[in-house]
Symmetry: C3
Subunit: 467 residues, 3 copies
């Protein structure tokens, strides 16, 4: 049985031809572009046997696959289960959360392989890919998942695919500016992924402001079991974040260090989040929204500095602060953003990604500026910041300045890009739902008739009971 809709609903949310058209068009484009451009890199191609000899490698274990594949899989889980389930907290939007996240990420990783490939892995007219490209594609899509959090429940799947197309493009440009032109370090993506993704998403949701959104207010909350589903997402993000921040760091100590710094930061973040969640409530009760989100801020906030010599206690400090900032954000900033700035941020990405992302960029700049040969060792110092070639004269303080510039560039790209893409998404052709149908899976999904829903009808006399 179909739930009846309000008579006043004029919007056409039928996806029947539009969604297939977009999906198929884009998949065909991917096939063509992959056919023209994408090939296996030297460690993936069957010529590897010859490659090994040329590179003087004695063992297959030296293949980058063994250095990075376990981390890749952890990152992959974060993108699809982590972000997907984190957003299932809404009582009637679990299909959309996990399903649309699946859709946009599956498209995004293909497009990101191309975009990032043209910038970073382009040789003799071909993009040569390996496991590191897969990780970077997942990273890029991570920034789209973040932006999705701001508009969760308010957009059609087509809008999400359009946003993904543009955001992946802009992400890749921004990343190129930061990593290649500014020669900035950002292995865990505090700037490129979190700051950019979050402010991009916030700008988009500002442009898509819905004045009547309180019409679906009853659906913006959670139910008991939806909060438990969301905790699956939270915990997988939390547990695998050390893999996220270390996945593309240099082999050896850098990967090892990134993982440990992140582990420490996240552990500290849980305690300060719990403390402030309880403190900011009159009855001292813990709020699942904070536990699901603010506990992760510690991972965001060491995204730039984790591979540097941040040290374990430095990580604890950064994690502690970010947990506090994020929890305070949920209690005070989110209502303010909505009522004053008309920024409707469904998942509170301003608290989980935007502010901790900025903290991460700043901590990275400071940590870089404070680097010394004494702390890193002579070789370690050069390796850690890649002070070779044209950059061999860079000093730590100059590097710190460039790191700071990276934050500014990411912010500007996010605001400008978000404004343009928000404008495109505002066109009345994409099939988004009316305000009273937001946060409701029934609009885009075949939803099973639950026994509970009978009860729901009983208590809602304005809806007819099922036969």
């Amino acid at each position: 049985m179909e739930r009846p809709r309000h008579q006043g609903m004029a919007k056409n949310t039928n996806m029947r031809w539009r969604l297939p058209l977009v999906c198929l068009l884009w998949e065909v484009a991917m096939i063509v572009l992959f056919g023209v451009f994408v090939r296996f890199g030297p460690e993936v191609d069957a010529h590897w046997e010859e490659e090994k000899k040329e590179m003087n490698l004695t063992s297959d274990i030296e293949n980058d696959f063994y250095f990075r594949y376990p981390s890749f899989q952890d990152v992959h889980v974060m993108i699809f289960v982590g972000f997907g389930f984190l957003m299932t907290f809404l009582k009637r939007y679990g299909f959309g959360a996990v399903g649309f996240n699946f859709l946009l990420a599956a498209f995004g990783i293909q497009w990101a392989l191309l975009m990032q490939g043209w910038f970073h892995s382009f040789k003799n007219g071909k993009i040569l890919i390996g496991v590191e490209n897969l990780i970077n594609a997942d990273f890029c899509v991570g920034s789209v998942c973040i932006a999705f959090g701001a508009i969760l429940g308010k957009t059609s799947p087509i809008q999400l695919l359009v946003m993904t197309l543009f955001q992946v493009t802009l992400f890749s440009v921004n990343e190129y500016i930061l990593l290649n032109l500014l020669h900035v370090k950002d292995a865990g993506g505090s700037m490129t992924i979190h700051t950019f993704g979050a402010y991009f998403g916030l700008t988009v949701t500002r442009i898509l402001y819905r004045p009547n959104l309180e019409q679906s207010k009853d659906k913006q909350g959670s139910v008991y079991h939806s909060d438990l589903f969301a905790m699956i997402g939270t915990l997988y993000l939390w547990m695998y974040w050390p893999s996220f921040n270390s996945a593309i760091s240099d082999h050896g100590d850098a990967q090892h260090r990134s993982a440990i710094n992140t582990y420490c930061s996240l552990a500290a973040c849980v305690l300060t989040t719990m403390a402030f969640s309880s403190m900011l409530q009159k009855k001292g009760k813990l709020d699942m929204v904070h536990i699901q989100n603010a506990t992760l801020a510690g991972g965001v906030a060491v995204g730039t500095s984790a591979e540097m010599m941040l040290t374990p206690y430095g990580s604890l400090i950064v994690g502690s602060i970010s947990g506090i900032v994020s929890t305070v954000g949920y209690v005070y900033f989110t209502p303010f953003l909505e009522s004053r700035l008309h920024i409707q941020d469904t998942c509170g990405i301003h608290n989980l990604h935007a502010m901790p992302g900025l903290i991460g960029g700043i901590v990275g700049a400071i940590t870089a500026a404070a680097a010394t040969e004494d702390v890193y060792g002579k070789e370690g110092f050069i390796k850690a910041f890649d002070f070779t070639g044209v950059y061999q004269t860079r000093t730590p303080s100059i590097q710190g300045g460039f790191q700071a510039a990276g934050i500014v560039v990411s912010l500007l790209m996010a605001f400008a890009g978000g404004a343009i893409v928000g404008g495109i998404l505002k066109l009345p052709i994409w099939g988004d739902a009316a305000a009273e149908n937001c946060f409701e899976d029934d609009v885009y999904w075949e939803v099973p008739e639950d026994e509970e829903s009978d009860v729901y009808h009983m208590h809602n006399p304005d809806k007819p009971a099922s036969p």
Copy 2:
């Protein structure tokens, strides 16, 4: 409180002595057979220190454990959480889905270690096992989990254990014929796991045809949260499938390549599945059944060719096609199979495993037949197809022919084996439930009294309310 049953129910589903008897008998058999046959392989045994010297290995990292253990764990998750939760979509069969899958897989891996060991790891009267054997045992059990999908909700746990015993045996024989006699490549098991497992299961469910199954039709659907539980299974299968297809490939480039081809195929598959799921519904709404299942067809369809030079765009094409075929299958073929051929396929394994498995076998045959020394490199060519010893004169086109023969053998083994095993399972001694009690955990499990079930009774006047 016990739910009342129909008075006409004559079947005895009490497992009290039968299930313990079967479990204990078989576990004792496993202990005896392991005691006689199974020993640690050279990389597992404490003599490894001496082994290392003999093999001129300088580092412990050369132990196969470090090449394959992360992939093994991913495969392990696929078998137990992936398949287990994928099948929890039914509203009242979650315990059976995840619990019986757990039971049959735990028995199956033990029996598979023996069966596959006798065929592939038998030296001086002993089966020498290592991490690769564990992966292969999980693979073998995967084919049983697939067959379980066809008969889900309609069989007793004893029937599942009996089926596992026979199916593992037949799987191992079929695998031996393909890999050793036909010298076929099938690292991800399109033929040995998916084609064989699916057609075996479909034959079994055909033999076990229940004409009155519509009596339990109300229980064959999902509820909102059961669909979310199923998505946990879907996503873990989807994310870890690159590990599945690469887990037993050769060290180095082959593992790397298998993972990347699979990643590409799966990404494309999601887009075409979404497109066709929307297109085939009048209202254009997405159907969770398709998203939960057809998105995975891309992994099945590159199971044979992933370790070959399929190339990224080749993978996108295969993945795109398999998503379409699988979704169309759910909409059109499944009802046809049920109404015309009396094949009651609970999970739709025909769409997720059988047809994509055939595609996988065919793509593998074509990719092998099209191989050239130019594309693979001289050494890579020999290594990829293991054209050594008696096989050194094999040409790609002959290999393609043998690959095709592998499909046929797998099909024949599946039909013949499924018919025999289906006949055995039809004996009236195994304690399966009557048609009106299918898809209902209450038959074999202690089920907690949910508050919702009170409501259920209120709305079903033919069932007495709880006191």
Copy 3:
């Protein structure tokens, strides 16, 4: 809407100032202590390049990160998702199960890094950490998660933090006595983690005995979906247990062997658990409590011996026995412990950890005593038991004696420590709930108003319906 409480409730469970105070105080203490003591170890520090040369390592792959990080992540998942979700089986305590487990583990790993660091990684006034320390910290916290299982639903978060502080301390002392003074092998922690953790928790819950706990009996059960959430925990513990038992074993064969022995033991355990679960019920139905818990006993019971030459069939035997003992425990011992000994063991840790832990210690002692140079090889024998330095004259039978002594020490530490900590937790200042409010998230958490809860009220006339 707030659920009304019984008028007679006098206990103040408001956490508003107490919980933040404890969290912040302890996090500040962690930051100060980490600042003074904790530094990166040689494989984590940026000086690694120089270290590599000194150690004559030719490749970054020799960094311990690549030997242990995948196992670390598996263990991490076990602690946070495994234990966390395993305990969500209660119908209204899912937030507390997964949330408090998150809190205590996040604090515990920080304190464990310090405590274990002082005992095992202290050099020149600094604790030098690496990935192995992270694993050990997770292990240590595992013993706290076990103890949490006994008192689940009956304590405030502050009590859990206090318990964690003391238990981690005592764990580290006990571990030091066993590993360093007695020179005992216990890589998977049958004695140090399971025996110690379980008897510690059982002693604490005995001291905290609540005579009126039957007042919350209606909340001590599960609902259908809470049992499925718990199965997520079960399966992740089951699947990753091979990683748990092998995570800190020696590189090479020892890690490989630990994983395989554990895999075998767990597989066998599932069959005997299912057999006895069915056999011990009049109607032969399987009980989810057994499947969720007793299937894991096989991992506990080979915790000491997995890295030894237990052999695959030995593992099957140990796993089979532990599944039987654990299931029988749930049916007969748990009610006995509660009614006669006043031990209220919410999760039945006596059956899952205490008894299998003792079995594990005993099997370890026997396996060590039975070791011969013939079985292990000359070098393997010395390496497996670390019979070097002052221990080079130890014989297997003496080692077996020391192993047995390790069990006794662990038990004594658990009883004495549990008694003291239980006494501290009994102080009336920690904000625990009254008996009628146990097993109820509403006490410490903001709980969403479910539609179901309306129904609940309808059927419970003593509770007013929501407006």
